[in-house]
Amino acid sequence: MSKARKVVPALIAFSCLTIVFARRTPPRPEETPIVEITAKRFAFSPDKIVLKKDQTVKLRLHSEDVTHGFFLRPLGLDEEIPAGQSVDVTVTPKTAGTFTTICDHFCGANHGNMNMTIVVE
């Protein structure tokens, strides 16, 4: 058997497999929305966001100064935002309501008033 007679069927078989696997690959999910939140003594910005119940979002948390916390037990959020860095956290709210998120990493004199509102509709 010539070399060409061996290669051509192999290519055809590979192409078919590729098509089969391509068809079996799940459709690419829609991009997860990203919500950016900045932490800076002694406030979050924005100070209120609105999320959809059962809709997954990615919170991109960024600290502009010292290390902050991002704590909201009903949504299972308990993150550290290292000084000057960003962290991503994915959340899918399961309960509608209005929630207060706090910085729970002591960051200074007015730390106790550092919070923001997350509304889940």
Binding site: L72, I102, H105, F106, A109, N113, N115
Partner: protein
């Protein structure tokens, strides 16, 4: 000796003075002849025989804090010192449950505030003052400066048959006690029988009082797992700038008032925490300076003071306002 029955228990006398809370721990009256054997047995069990004494809890002076909602600076703290010194019966102890000063990143200024705190507190005519830090004392530097001036941030001691435990839930960045201190607590308490009267004092609540106001300790459930192994535990704390009582399992939790400004009752309050507005007509309102009677004999220029006793039965108060359970019924 025959073990004391349910009538034999320790009882608590107390009054909410507004400056904090005065607690008195003393034995309930027993039948003639029972007392000595009862206390001998309790002394053998606990290592020291309980004897009558009283102590005062103070909290959250925030020395150095000025401005809304507290324009009075240290006046409430100084008033508290006057009132303690005016008590008809001198307490044995003061327990200060944190936030002695308000924090600043200026180390020299922080030291100045600590010294101002010490200048005021040394006027208290009570032989022993014990402290735990609040987050405003220890949160920025992990408690380094606090320990330099006040010593260890967690420790224990015994006083007249009661075991006192100081817990630090503020020196770590998050509101927690941490595994090292938990192990220490477990070991510290393991020396005592389950019936030992134990008073824990700390800054933040050890339970989820209001997590979205940071009124919690994240590993508080692990602390409570240790404490609930004991029958007679009372937890005193500060942080929330108001009085509060919670029974969780066998443990009773009490918050002491602040000496700077007050927060509202969180029940039914939605959203972020906001302090109670300052009332110019009543500058010490919600800090608790109250008119009380002084053994029925009011003195010129001093607030009359009344102390009422509460006798405990098993999980039952014969109550007065402001005086609550310290030591529950115990079976030895």
């Amino acid at each position: 000796m025959k073990p004391p029955d349910r009538r034999s228990f320790l009882k608590i006398a107390g009054s909410s003075l507004g400056i904090g809370v005065l607690y008195t721990a003393f034995p309930a009256s027993l039948k003639a002849g029972e007392s000595s054997s009862f206390f001998s047995a309790l002394g053998r069990a606990n290592g020291e025989k309980p004897e009558p004494f009283s102590f005062v809890q103070l909290s959250d002076a925030h020395v150095g804090f000025n401005g809304p909602p507290a324009p009075l600076g240290t006046k409430a703290f100084e008033r508290a010192v006057e009132m303690i010194n005016g008590l008809p019966r001198r307490p044995d102890l003061i327990l200060f449950t944190g936030d002695l000063v308000h924090d600043t990143e200026n180390r020299d200024l922080q030291i100045q505030r600590i010294k101002q705190f010490q200048e005021i507190s040394k006027k208290i005519n009570v032989p022993v003052i014990k402290y735990v830090p609040g987050e405003h004392d220890a949160g920025l530097d992990g408690g380094l400066l606090y320990r330099e001036f006040f010593g260890q941030s967690y420790y224990s001691f015994d006083h007249r048959g009661v075991h006192f435990v100081a817990l630090d839930n503020v020196s770590r960045p998050k509101p927690e006690v941490g595994t090292e201190q938990l192990a220490w607590l477990r070991k510290d308490l393991s020396r005592f029988p389950k019936t030992a009267p134990i008073v824990v004092f700390t800054h933040r609540p050890l339970f989820d009082l209001r997590p979205d106001w940071e009124w919690f300790t994240s590993d508080g459930d692990q602390v409570m797992n240790v404490l609930t192994e004991y029958d007679n535990v009372t937890v005193l704390y500060g942080h929330i700038h108001r009085d509060d009582e919670h029974q969780i399992g066998p443990v009773r939790h009490y918050a002491g008032r602040s000496l700077i400004f007050a927060f509202p009752d969180p029940t039914g309050v939605a959203g972020p925490r906001k302090s109670v507005p300052f009332d110019e007509e009543h500058p010490f309102k919600n800090l608790g300076i109250r008119t009380v009677s002084f053994n029925g004999q009011a003195q010129p220029n001093s607030t009359p003071l009344s102390i009422e006793d509460v006798e405990l039965t098993a999980r039952e108060f014969r109550g007065i306002n402001g005086a609550q359970q310290l030591l529950r019924n115990t079976e030895l």
